[in-house]
């Protein structure tokens, strides 16, 4: 039973690691220049604080996942790992929500505030952002699943961890 539990946990963490790495790399390398009416218009993730926050948080989450994978054997740290998992899950949900809020304005604009959508001018930048945001969403979901899985032993006696 302990082996299956460890295998599932390691698989979930590897999936989260892959998702965070994809999110960081694709957003960091997304850059596009557009020419509109003799003006050059560059789109980079550093122009928006929400995307900067997103990249930083995903990087922190990826780094923590690597740490958790390496230190998985020590059972003394299991409670600390659980609490840190909770903190990282909260950080991931916050970063994806912030990035999605700004990306929604970039895609559809906000007519009430007079903000025009920018995806018409920089379509490839927008496509790369979509991929990165999907990866970030998967990372947040996987971390929440990991937390529920860690606590599932208390949900029902059937899942009780046998010594």
């Amino acid at each position: 039973m302990a082996k299956i539990r460890k295998a599932v946990t390691v698989t979930l963490r590897l999936l989260a690691l892959a998702a965070t790495v994809v999110a960081v790399v694709i957003m960091a390398t997304s850059k596009e220049t557009a020419h509109v009416l003799n003006l050059t218009f560059t789109a980079k993730f550093t122009h928006t604080p929400a995307f900067k926050y997103y990249v930083v948080v995903e990087a922190i989450a990826g780094f923590y996942t690597v740490l958790a994978l390496l230190l998985a054997s020590k059972s003394l740290l299991s409670r600390l790992t659980l609490i840190l998992d909770l903190v990282v899950a909260m950080l991931l949900t916050s970063s994806i929500a912030a990035a999605l809020a700004i990306a929604q304005v970039g895609k559809q604009g906000n007519s009430h505030a007079g903000w025009l959508p920018i995806c018409g001018q920089v379509p490839r930048y927008c496509d790369k952002l979509v991929v990165s945001l999907v990866a970030g969403f998967v990372a947040a979901l996987v971390y929440l699943l990991l937390l529920v899985y860690t606590l599932r032993a208390a949900l029902h006696p059937v899942f009780a961890i046998k010594p």
Partner: protein
Amino acid sequence: MGEEEVGQKRQKAVVLVLRAAAFLATAAATIVMALNKETRTFVVATVGTTPVTASITAKFQQTPANVFFVIANAMASNHNLMMIGSDLLGLDYRGFKLPLVAILDMLNAALLSAGVHGAAFMAQLAKNGNSHARWNEICDKFQGYCNRGGIAILASYVGLLVTLGITVVSIVKLLKPKPQPQPLASEIEVP
């Protein structure tokens, strides 16, 4: 009353107070953001000597992130209210209660975190604009709307921190080893 019982009662009281604080904070955030509306009239042109005015309204429904903020805070305050009610009424679902409460608290914290951060970054965009995307700031014209939105976001942050504390307490309670029932001396079979 043994010492352990006194400790448990104290812990229950602490959790109840934390839940009440979280409920008040998220309910305040919901109400302040839901009633956030400001109308301003601007002079857009002058025809002869009479100015032509147009009135523009800033409402929270115009920004999807703020709509999500209101919904998330409403659900969070509802959750806390239900938990306070079930604690006071002493409901117990055949031992399911503690794990159910821990997982629901965790999901509540995730929802609240997403809601508050989406609204906070939209507020930052409204306050500073984004020169690269040619998005103008709107807070210089609608100061009351922005101030009230800021207060709602601050209240929700306080609620988020308290909810995180409650979640940690619930998880720690869940992981505590339950005392195993000892067999009576008369039941032990001597082989």
